[in-house]
């Protein structure tokens, strides 16, 4: 596993290059090479969703994407979600509604929620809870996460 190759991808609107092994996962390239440590690793079986980022506008678990697969694609991480220098409405809503405690799952939660609201701008509570099936939180009991997503949807 010593061979590496160079990939070029758009990360948060900036063209970046990285030297990767074929087996390298996108999440480790983001964290270790591109210094974007807001994306977290909470499991090794694609359950927890802490590593969720956007690839071409859709939520993906970056622990389940090979870095090579991201070649030429546009990646948005939690660091790139800000709007006009301010907070994204979901970030604001998570803050307002106490939608986080330890914060470890939060970037992935927000990225998943952003994908949900992009495809379903006015989701029901059941739809929100269903959409979070791939994102685990151990602190909040989800209640205020759901409230935050509802608030962000209402504010649109």
């Amino acid at each position: 596993m010593t061979g590496t190759c160079s990939i070029t991808l758009d990360v948060n609107g900036v063209t970046r290059t990285a030297e990767v092994e074929p087996r390298d996962l996108l999440v480790y390239v983001l964290r270790d090479q591109l210094d974007l440590t807001g994306t977290h690793v909470g499991c090794d079986t694609s359950q927890c969703g802490a590593c969720t980022v956007h690839m071409d506008g859709r939520a993906v678990k970056s622990c389940t994407v090979l870095a090579l697969q991201a070649e030429g694609h546009a990646i948005t991480t939690i660091e790139g979600l800000k709007r006009d220098g301010g907070l994204h409405p979901l970030q604001q809503a998570f803050w307002e509604k106490h939608g986080l405690q330890c914060g470890f799952c939060t970037p992935g939660m927000i990225m998943t929620a952003a994908d949900l609201l992009a495809t379903n701008p006015k989701p029901t509570e059941a739809e929100i809870r269903h959409a979070l099936a791939g994102n685990l939180c151990r602190c909040t009991g989800y209640q205020n996460i759901v409230a935050a997503i509802q608030a962000a949807a209402a504010a649109r």
Partner: protein, 790 residues
């Protein structure tokens, strides 16, 4: 200025967390950083033969490989720090890497250090280990039986301790009681599953002899001490930094071998070394929770007066005694057998038992959920046997509100309470009578609705240091704060606790801002760095607000006392003539003539004109040691709809009425309750560690261990009563663990209530559809579910 205490302001922590700008331990990068990986035993119990690292050492990128033989003379073993007295506790040595035997799947065998994370992982596969398999035992009750395989030569029969609690005369009570109920209860073993796995990053500077360790820690000062013991490096050469910590739930209290090993590697290699476990490693190598087999009996009168409780408990400890393990099923469990009730006669025997499994230690609630569960479960069985409503039985036995402070049969004294008040409030929100009518109607229609009502109290706010010493806790249980005022009137509070999601950077800022009459934005709270913060004992046992928050309050009061002296001097008035109003000290009767906190901060720090004998500067340190624990309480109610064909449990409503005294930030309090309740419902409904007969962990990944998901869990309706504690200046009690303590019996009692007409009296948790369905089948065949009340 409006008071901030009691205001649900947004958290100060959040901006960095919601933007990806927080620094967790695995985010730390240092020049020359090496990466470590631990080879872990694949056997639950085996003699360890040759560990051949020759090939691994030659692998690309590998810098060093260490085995048990390499480190055993250079490092000490992993200490157990809660040496509970009077129970013949046996703590065999726990080597940092296995030497001649492995005792659980996940026990460390070798450490690889390499230039990259991947290189370290790759090299693990190149280590050849000779294992000679031994018999295993994963069940704590079976481990005590004759012929069970023994883990440690110095612990015959695997019993690490036999601890007893007794009050009143239980033998007499049971002999005389007209009614007795008995039940075997299994407290399912759980995985704490903090979303951030454990990590450690060590940097040793050979030039200064100083070690800096970034670590996922709930208690950096305790980790500094434990690390000092394990590495033999003096405590003053060690700096422990717990940066952002992604949840703990108890699993980041203990000292583990791993952080000592990366420290040792850094000391040996002169380069920084980082280790981060992945989730499947976390499930094997990080402590587990609960794991009791309990035999419980309750006795009482035919009209609902409980007269006695008796237990025999086999508490699994795993392969070794983890840091706080002996104290969990004893001090934090057995002493709480009276719960909120006036049970006059109590007798308990707790066996701590070594098994060939991952070590068990504190997990959210730690001993108290188990105590509350067995008590509440037994009350429902007792109520059913005497044909009395379970709420009426509880009400009849609650400690009256005018009896506090109240000493229970186990010998501890509760600080304050109004248990009836919380029960009344919950019943009011719920309309119990209406539900019972609906339930009766539904039963006729073949629907099985049930209700569980838990009245609980718990011990937290750990605690007086003198008591800590008396019960063998290897440290103090006071906490600390430095409140430092800068010349410009802004403030930093350096605290001994280490919040990791509980929001004390906000709530403690509220305390300080209130004291000084300044905006909350002018206060920063600093935690987690032993270089900056005074000796503290960490965040666990719902202690941080009650103990460390009180230290913040006392330190702020000391600062204010000094500011008052300076104000009196500048105003040429006597201190007695000054009053504090609207953020300034002014002479009584002339509020216009005063000195604001900001002016006093400047004058104190520049020291141009101080009163005689007053030193420059404006800061104070406080070490607060409470006079007692605090005992929060409440009533939780849950209703369920159980499908008798599939065994599926649907939660209809969940109501939590908790009393944690006055609330600094109600939004944060509710968040703690939500999270705790859902975590408890996970335990009640779906979470369980499963080992197979070879001691292999079958629930070894998140694919197999059922952490609750958003779609599986209900909304929690919260409400509160407010009964201040007399044991700290804020009057506060803890609320971090009440949810996991109260919710488990509430759900299980609701399900057993629903299935009462079918003859089900008890089902062991978690109440998976398969278990509920099986209990229904068994009851229909005349067996009373998973074990009936006699």
């Amino acid at each position: 200025m409006a008071t901030l205490f009691g205001s649900g302001i947004k958290r100060r922590e959040d901006p960095r967390l919601i933007t990806g700008r927080a620094t967790y331990t695995d985010d730390v990068k240092l020049p020359g950083l090496l990466h470590a990986a631990v080879l872990r035993s694949t056997y639950a119990h085996a003699k360890l033969g040759k560990v051949d690292v020759t090939k691994a050492k030659k692998a690309p990128g590998v810098v060093a490989v260490f085995t048990g033989a390499d480190v055993k003379d250079k490092l000490n073993t992993v200490p157990c720090a809660w040496n509970v007295p009077n129970c013949d506790l046996k703590v065999p040595p726990h080597p940092l890497l296995a030497i001649d035997r492995v005792r659980y799947v996940g026990d460390g065998v070798a450490l690889v250090v390499a230039e990259s994370r991947a290189a370290a992982r790759d090299a693990l596969d190149l280590i050849d280990v000779d294992y000679d398999a031994l018999d295993v035992v994963v069940d704590p009750e079976k481990a005590t039986q004759q012929g069970a395989p023994e883990l440690h030569p110095e612990v015959p029969g695997n019993v690490a301790f036999t601890w007893k609690v007794a009050g009143g005369d239980a033998a007499k009570a049971f002999a005389e009681a007209p009614v007795t109920v008995e039940q075997r209860i299994v407290q399912n073993r759980l995985l704490p599953t903090a979303m951030e796995p454990r990590a450690a990053c060590a940097s040793y500077n050979p030039g200064t002899g100083q070690l800096t360790l970034w670590i996922t820690s709930q208690n950096p000062h305790i980790h500094r001490f434990l690390l000092s013991v394990m590495t033999k490096l003096p405590e003053h050469r060690i700096r422990v930094i717990a940066p952002e910590v992604g949840g703990g739930f108890g699993s980041k209290i203990p000292g583990y071998a791993d952080e000592a090993l990366v420290s040792f590697a850094s000391m040996q290699l002169g380069r920084p070394v980082k280790w981060t476990e992945d989730r499947s490693e976390n499930y094997k190598a990080t402590i587990h929770g609960r794991d009791h087999v309990e035999y419980v009996a309750m006795c009482g009168t035919k009209d609902g007066q409980i007269t006695g409780l008796r237990t025999k408990v086999y508490a699994g400890l795993g392969g070794y005694a983890s840091t706080a393990a002996p104290g969990i099923p004893t001090i934090l469990h057995g002493l709480m057998y009276s719960g909120p009730y006036t049970i006059p006669n109590i007798e308990g025997t707790i066996y701590g038992v070594y098994t060939t499994t991952t070590p068990v230690d504190a997990y959210r609630g730690a001993g108290r959920p188990e105590a509350t569960f067995l008590l509440e479960r037994m009350i429902d069985l007792y109520a059913r046997k005497i044909g009395m409503d379970p709420v009426d039985v509880r009400r009849k036995n609650l400690i009256p509100k005018d009896k506090f402070p109240y000493t229970v049969a186990t010998g501890i004294t509760y600080d304050s309470g109004n248990y009836q008040g919380a029960l009344d409030k919950a019943l009011q929100m719920f309309d119990y009578k209406k539900f019972r009518a609906e339930q009766a109607k539904a039963r006729k229609a073949g629907r099985y609705l049930g209700v569980g009502v838990t009245t609980y109290c718990e011990i937290c706010g750990l605690g007086p240091s003198q008591v800590a010493g008396a019960v063998g806790f290897g440290g103090g249980l006071y906490d600390s704060a430095i409140v430092r005022v800068y010349p410009t009137g802004v403030v930093r509070a350096y605290i001994g606790g280490k919040p990791h999601g509980q929001g004390e950077e906000t709530t403690f800022a509220q305390i300080v801002a209130d004291e000084f009459g300044i905006p909350v934005e002018n206060v920063e709270v600093v935690a987690g760095d032993t270089e900056a913060t005074p000796q503290g004992w960490g965040t666990y046992g719902s202690r941080t607000t009650a103990v460390c928050g009180s230290a913040v309050k006392v330190a702020a009061q000391r600062v204010k006392d000094k500011a008052k002296k300076i104000a009196a001097h500048l105003l040429e008035a006597s201190e007695a003539d000054l009053e504090w109003q609207d953020g300034k000290f002014a002479v009584k009767g002339s509020p216009d003539k005063g000195k604001t906190f900001g002016e006093l901060a400047l004058m104190a720090n520049v020291a141009w004109n101080l009163p005689p004998g007053v030193e420059p500067g404006l800061e104070a340190t406080a070490f607060f040691d409470p006079s007692n624990f605090v005992y929060p309480f409440g009533t939780h109610i849950c209703t369920v709809d159980v499908d008798p064909e599939t065994g599926e449990v649907k939660i209809l409503r969940y109501i939590a009425v908790d009393d944690c005294g006055p609330q600094i930030n109600p939004m944060i309090v509710d968040g703690q309750v939500h999270g705790g309740v859902i975590q408890g419902l996970g335990e009640a409904l779906q979470e369980m560690v499963v080992y197979d007969e070879d001691g292999q962990l079958l629930t070894g990944t998140m694919m197999d261990y059922a952490v609750p998901k958003a779609s599986q869990m209900p909304k929690v309706e919260t409400a509160h009563t407010v009964t201040p504690s007399p044991v700290n200046p804020l009057g506060v009690k803890g609320v971090g663990e009440t949810g996991t303590i109260a919710s488990v019996p509430t759900l299980v009692n609701a399900v057993c209530d629903a299935l009462a007409p079918l003859g089900v009296s008890h089902i062991d948790k978690p109440l998976t559809p398969a278990r509920v369905w099986a209990a229904i089948q068994q009851a229909r065949a005349g067996g009373g579910g998973g074990g009936g009340a006699k």
